[in-house]
Subunit: 326 residues, 2 copies
């Protein structure tokens, strides 16, 4: 969470002038987004009305070849009344520009704050918003491979090595190996696919009270199993942060909200426990990798991989499959 790129006032004014959004009157670097630089921009138009935007400069971790997918997706969803920020196109109609070799985009600012202790009513609203995105994206027409799918987990966990995993927690290596086999044997190939957000943690949802005002940070969005996105969201919202406590009220509300807009089919429902194990494995894999290989400094707060080991164990327990039953 930081601003990696320095932009002088004159550079910033020149960048904003390429979009027909009025005169720049404020630009504050914001501590948001893990791998890109972001500014909250304020402009004033000829009628003295002020407008706010998020300017994102894409750093090395975002492949600029993927930007049309991410940015056009926002426009597609916003046009279908999903609560996502629109991309502001420049005076030539482009969704992103380049400045000193880096890609940048101007994105609508949406009000709202990210809840840290969601209520069931809020979880229900998030379920609805996610289902709305899944339906609205059906005719998007662009595809992007999930760069954080099963092959990526496998690679990351292999890079962690058995001794790395054991250094995180004794027995973790065996647990991971066993679960990876279960996932490989059972990972569904016949479920409906579509555009998924793939990272819908509370951090990536803006809310005002019980209303979802913005789903943000679509930089993991891709084409994959639609119900897997619900499983990711379930893992992200329905546990205490350390994964030790399952929150049944949030789970019921999230599922109910989602299914009020897009009911799961019988095969999707049956696959949910395994999809949720996959979701837990995906975040376990990145967290374990970062835990072992990221130099900790004040810039990056390392997240405990055990929080997703506990979720994985929860989902792997057949007694808990009922949380996904109708």
């Amino acid at each position: 969470m930081a601003v990696y790129t320095r932009l002088g006032a004159e550079e910033m004014a020149a960048i904003i002038a390429a979009f027909d959004v009025g005169t720049l009157i404020s630009a504050k670097g914001i501590a948001e987004g893990v791998s890109n630089s972001n500014w909250l921009i304020e402009t004033q138009d000829s009628q003295d009305a002020t407008h706010r935007f998020i300017l994102t400069v894409y750093e090395t971790r975002t492949d600029t070849a993927d930007l049309p997918f991410f940015l056009n997706l926002l426009d597609h969803l916003a046009a279908r009344n999903c609560p996502v920020p629109r991309t502001i196109h420049d005076v030539e109609g482009a969704s992103h520009r380049f400045y000193k070799g880096k890609a940048l985009a101007l994105i609508e600012f949406l009000p709202g704050i990210s809840v840290s202790d969601p209520t069931p009513v809020q979880a229900r609203a998030v379920g609805q918003a996610l289902a709305q995105v899944h339906l609205a994206a059906a005719d998007f027409g662009c595809e992007r491979t999930n760069s954080m799918g099963p092959d990526a987990w496998r690679q990351l966990l292999s890079d962690c090595r058995s001794d790395g995993l054991e250094s995180i927690a004794p027995g973790l290596s065996r647990l991971v190996e066993r679960e990876l086999s279960v996932l490989a044997a059972g990972w569904p190939t016949d479920l409906p696919r579509g555009v998924i957000h793939a990272d819908l943690f509370p951090d990536n949802v803006l809310m005002l009270g019980d209303k979802v005002t913005g789903l943000i940070d679509f930089y993991f969005a891709c084409t994959d199993i639609v119900a897997y996105d619900l499983a990711v969201t379930h893992a992200a919202w329905c546990f205490s942060a350390d994964g030790a406590e399952f929150l049944p009220d949030l789970s019921a509300a999230l599922m109910e909200g989602y299914e009020s807009v897009r009911p799961l089919s019988a095969v999707e429902r049956a696959a949910m426990p395994l999809l949720a194990q996959g979701a837990a494995m995906r975040f376990l894999a990145t967290r374990a990798y970062d835990w072992l290989y990221t130099v900790e400094d004040a810039l990056v707060t390392l997240k405990d991989p055990m929080a997703f080991v506990r979720r994985l164990e929860f989902y792997a327990d057949p007694a808990n499959a009922e949380v996904f039953s109708a």
Copy 2:
């Protein structure tokens, strides 16, 4: 530049509710300020008008006993039409509150951006604004010792040790020793004193075009020689960033702007070259200390002490005293 304190949405809403400023609708951690955590806050009032503020949570480097000085000073200056942000008082009238052991304050948001390549017209406006602050602060009535005055430079440079200074640049130790003697022998004791900003770098000035919209970051403000503040501002604005190039047009404009509001007396003018050497020494001291003792990470960009060694050499050269002549 970072956000050191984590505040959940519910905590943030509760904090903002203690001020009579409407309902919280957005809070973005901003990468501003070196040692405190800051958020750009947006609220909506009962007439649906939106308002913006900066929420500052004071971390360990700010002594909370100094907060009344800093925050009341803003109110004092704003009431006298100086371009500084007002302090928003809470519903009980307090200028700051405590939350989980940390002090926090809500401060008016001002538009404007910090210029990186100032023009003479902008430097003139900054000179005027600084003089305006000096005049308006005359009846402030509170005092604060300069924690970064000559004694502090001496201590910091002593902590750097000769070998530390030599490791930065061969010969630096002798230069510093010689200049500290010059400063000690000649530092004026009879010049007008008052409230000074003491850190008016371009980063701490918000501008819209040629207009100063905000002087910010008063956390070094203190009672000291008034003309020394002009010397600090001169050192901050009138050189290329690396200190290698003196910018005569900016210097002339800054001095002219300042004196158009508060003309220097003959004794102040005569002292300016020495005050400017002191200003250069002050930033040389903190930069050298940080250079030697701060662990560099992505969070902190270390600033080259040599940029102020060069300024010190410029100001110490009698041939350059003329830049302060009328």
